[in-house]
Amino acid sequence: MLASMQGAVESGLLYALMALGVYITFRILDFPDLTVDGSFTTGAAIATVMTINGTQPWIAIICAFLGGAAAGLCTGLLHTKGKVNGLLSGIIMMIALYSINLRIMGKPNLSLRNQMNAFDQIPVIVIAIVLAVVIKILLDQFFRTDLGLSLRATGDNNRMIRSFGSNTDLTTIVGIALSNALVACSGALIAHHQKFADNSMGIGMIVIGLASVIIGEAIFGSKSIFRATLAVILGAIIYRIIYALALRVPGMEAQDMKLITAVIITCALVIPTVRRAINTKTSARKRTAEVLSGLSRPGGGGR
């Protein structure tokens, strides 16, 4: 049980980079980017193939980061210069990447057993924590720079930032590229962690990323960028813990996991809405009762 919890936290931290990428597009840029399903595998494919061919794992992972950025760049160009609808440009890239990933890997899955591994010398948990914290801090700082501010404003008020001389096409492309770079980096780390890459490992990744963002924000809030990025990382870990617990339920099998993911994200989306509706209703009823009793009392103010 304890071992599976530690495993959940480890992979949660590695998946957190992907969730941070999703956070950048969905929340900051307000751009629903589905490239993620493809670019996650792209990262895994690049890192695996390079490692097998003798490249140092960490260099391979940096290359995966750049490969993801290139994928994001294409989506960004499709959307801004090609004027293709945001969802559609993500889907187009996702399907293109499916073939590209197969080309990179040469076959549908590759094993990293008996190869150099990124986690050879230092325990996974240490690397995962350091990486998540460092990238979180770097992102927080980036979003306080002039470029970061104009990127945030692009998602917040497009018209306003253009009137202050920012090229929103450029900021959108930068944001999507950065997002997919993080996603690919996460894919590369996961491949090294599980010691294989599979052409279908990215399927549903966007939903997992979204679930992490939504769970994190619902529990830890998103008042500032600092809080939000922290919430996203913790959300990714919590998602993995729920996932690990669900797997222990008798009768559940690995093949049910996508369904479980769908159920988790549905709960994360619906519960806050329902709770808010109930709260509003009860407080409205309470207040109305107060006002009414105040009115019926002689001389009572209906304040």
């Binding site: 945030r152 404003a153 018209r159 001389g165």
Partner: protein, 264 residues
């Protein structure tokens, strides 16, 4: 400072809905000119603003800023010289960002945006000092999200953000129209004092006749995509709303029809 030379714009060209938005419009603003623009619905006031700022491209004619032909430049490139305040109080600020972050974005108008911090201690002092100009206490709320401000406060902030870097041209597109009378008056007063103090070359569209007469040193009237009347400072001083409406009727042969018109 700003020269509009024979600018024309057609909407839906070649279709049954074809409409002349601007017809060979000419206008020349000297440095420090504060021109108010009035006109009936569909006269082309907003189109004129959009063409100057680069939101739309004209079908004919050229735009010059300080003698430089900017007709082919995109909106974001032109905004280096042009500050704008929109009618919608929500349009000029980013709601999920703080007041100081919004000010930082305005501060880098026309500069390339790199990886230096947007808000530093030195810049924060500048922002605080500039915000004091508004006199509504925003300087004490630098870390408040702009989305929490009222419409009037947001419009005051938009006005400051559009002006404090002293752009060559200031465009105000009915920027008090969506506010209640008291807020509108506040923004009008602020506009007057800021434009005077910073000596900004300004073009202001308004549907408030009294405001159009009171503010600025020149008044132009538009109808059907043309500038039909240009009143210089000497005549504008003693102008009344009645005279202005009479003038419009005399030239265009109809009553000034603006569904939001405010006489004063």
């Amino acid at each position: 400072m700003l020269k509009i030379d024979g600018v024309s714009k057609l909407f839906n060209p070649g279709t049954v809905d074809e409409k002349i938005a601007l017809m060979h419009a000419n206008l020349h603003l000297k440095p420090g000119d504060f021109v108010t623009v009035i006109g009936s619905n569909g006269a082309g006031k907003s189109t004129l603003m959009n063409i100057i700022s680069g939101v739309m491209k004209s079908d004919a004619g050229k735009i010059f800023i300080e003698g430089k032909d900017v007709s082919e430049l995109t909106e974001f490139k032109r905004s280096r010289w042009i500050g704008r305040v929109f009618q919608d109080p929500m349009a000029g600020t980013a709601p999920r960002m703080t007041i100081e972050e919004n000010m930082a974005i305005a501060y880098t108008r026309g500069k390339s945006r790199g990886l230096s911090f947007g808000v530093t201690r030195a810049k924060r002092e500048i922002f605080r000092k500039e915000l004091q100009r508004l006199g509504i206490g925003l300087e004490n709320r630098l870390n408040a999200k702009v989305g929490l401000l009222s419409g009037g406060e947001r419009q005051a902030l938009s006005l400051l953000m559009a002006t404090f870097t002293r752009p060559q041209i200031l465009l105000l597109d009915e920027h008090t129209a969506a506010l209640d009378p008291a807020r509108a008056e506040l923004i009008t007063t602020l506009t007057d004092s800021i434009v005077r103090e910073m000596k900004l070359t300004t073009l202001m569209v308004t549907h408030n006749m009294e405001q159009a007469i009171r503010l600025g040193n020149r008044l132009i009237m538009m109808d059907k995509g043309r500038i039909i009347l240009d009143i210089p400072e000497s005549r504008k001083k003693d102008l009344t709303v009645e005279q202005l409406l009479g003038e419009f009727e005399r030239i265009s042969g109809k009553k000034l029809a603006d569904d939001r018109i405010v006489l004063g």
